[in-house]
Symmetry: none
Subunit: 205 residues, 4 copies
């Protein structure tokens, strides 16, 4: 066989990396960062642990690159953008966003990201490299900044209960985060009804 050309090689390389990153995200999400061993990632990806170090220089880098890569593909920002363009009410937008969070997207990493970030947010920031800490912080920031206007608008329109908007948002995010840390599989059954119940917390009657 003729050797692959540069492009083909690069593409093959990226596929391999993606394969590992996807596996890493799942294992990180399921077990938490600290309890995830390189061997677990390698096994999930179906490669040797040595290969992981061929593509990444350390466990921290696996984590960082995997998160960054997944966030790029995940395009929560795009989802937000589309939701905002739509004619839905604020509360309905929040619901759609929540459902999106639980859903496994086409690349099946959507909720994994959220869960990994959750694990990280709960752990001691001193145990974390700066770049990862930044990613986590930025991610949290992003959700707050994106959701805050929806909450505010909903309160204005009377759809959402009154009170300190920031605190309300914080409660809502804590609840969602806590649930995510759990096994999200269960939440995917009858997701619509379950999310409706969650939203009752903030829905004005």
């Amino acid at each position: 066989m003729a050797p692959l050309n540069e492009n083909q090689l690069e593409q093959k390389r990226m596929e391999r990396k993606a394969q590992i990153m996807k596996a890493a995200l799942k294992v990180f999400a399921d077990n938490g960062v600290k309890l995830t061993k390189i061997s677990m990632i390698a096994k999930e990806a179906g490669v040797s642990h040595g290969l992981v170090y061929h593509y990444f220089t350390s466990k921290d880098e696996v984590l960082y690159e995997s998160l960054e890569w997944a966030m790029e593909r995940n395009r929560v920002d795009q989802v937000f953008h589309e939701l905002n363009e739509s004619q839905l009410s604020p509360l309905e937008k929040i619901k759609q966003f929540t459902i999106f969070g639980f859903t496994q997207g086409e690349l099946e990493v959507s909720s994994d990201i959220f869960r990994v970030v959750q694990h990280l947010a709960k752990s001691n920031e001193n145990d974390m490299p700066d770049n990862i800490y930044d990613l986590v912080k930025k991610s949290g920031q992003f959700y707050i900044e994106s959701l805050f206007p929806l909450f505010a608008e909903g309160q204005k329109s009377g759809e959402i209960i009154q009170g300190d908007t920031e605190e309300l948002l914080e409660i809502y995010l804590t609840v969602i985060s806590g649930i995510m840390a759990d096994d999200p599989t269960w939440w995917r059954e009858n997701m619509d009804q379950k999310v409706d119940i969650l939203l009752r917390m903030i829905t004005a009657r």
Copy 2:
């Protein structure tokens, strides 16, 4: 000098053990069981790691004894009993129970128990000694059995929304658990209002 007499010795011994168990519960609650190192417990308790092994034979036993000890003092069952004796409505009882869960009791271990059990419930049961697994299971069972009648009654009286009682309870417990896994300190500020918001999930309007 003559050694202390039996009683003095036994009392001192129990105080030391309690000191370690209290520290252990806090560290287990904050970090999860697997990530808690004996050195962390020793440091929190202000003793050497060797002393921990003077009072307990293994990390697992520290965990088991600490949980058992805390559960005994905690007397959730008693709280439930008193609540049930009271004239409060089912929903109000659930609220009081929830508040109790977040509260640090006089011995300051109340919510730690809940959190440790949460960590354990999320981890693989195969990594757990039988006696600890039993404790966790019994604890979960207890909450379900105690709360189920309140939910059912509340639905009957129209105070709580209709629907599959078991599923409703499950959602409620998952949410509470998820929150607990988080830093519960935050929840203690304005706890009453926050719990009110949580309860809106199940409150009929």
Copy 3:
């Protein structure tokens, strides 16, 4: 470079394992099981202690596998078989067997096995995993069952002194075992004469 193929790899792996097992046997034989530290085995084998755990899951397994492996190669049973086929007198057979026990075979583990088993036989069986206990028991059984007929036959032919055969065998084995526990190097000089002296114990005159 491409990784080694299956066969090459497997062979290298087995060589390494053998290297460690041989070292382990020697150190176990010299120091007894409990007093043997993994670091001593690693040092004797010229590898890091980590590598020992790459090939074996625990110290107990090093012991078990090493013994099993050595017993397989040692083929005492085969020696017995050949001796029995021969035209030698019972006493002569016992002598040859005794010499074989002291001898370092081609793989140089023969007497180490005996010595390790001796150490184990003397230690508390409760401190021993079942599979190791079985190995030790089976080994002891084997010697008794193989030698008993020779002793009986020798007594019948008048070559061996009269008396309780079982007790005689027990004395003989205790003596041999006790010697083995000692440094067997010394016994290898003038072995023939020394064994002759030992055999005088049971030789009829």
Copy 4:
């Protein structure tokens, strides 16, 4: 009660020490020096481990003092002296001495000494304090010097087989030592017959 006077105090002190030393010897003999834990000695003596350190400054000192103390009381030298005074034949003297070695004397430490010395002789001399090493060496020397004349005399009288006297003695002592390392209880049953069998090794026919 009136306080004890100096002498009584000193006597009580010595009794306590003796109690511990006797226990120590037994445990050292049964388990070997390295595997004997202070707690085992304390338990055997029925005192707390702290008390052991009240009378001795270290484990090594317990060993050294216990051996020295036992050797003094044991008076093997006296036994030898008495045997030599007697009219017995050399071989018979060797037999009596051997029996004495197996026997538990009135203070029940006789064979324990021998066994502890055996354990020590087998272990690495670098792990041993000088004074203990000297004790062991002196002890070995003593047996050799005391028995050599008996062997030589026996060979001269034709009672003992010919050959290098030193080597013969060495074989004999190795065998006895090896047996001692084992459980000597078994040897005490029918001791006379068993020792007769042992002696056949060196008996001329």
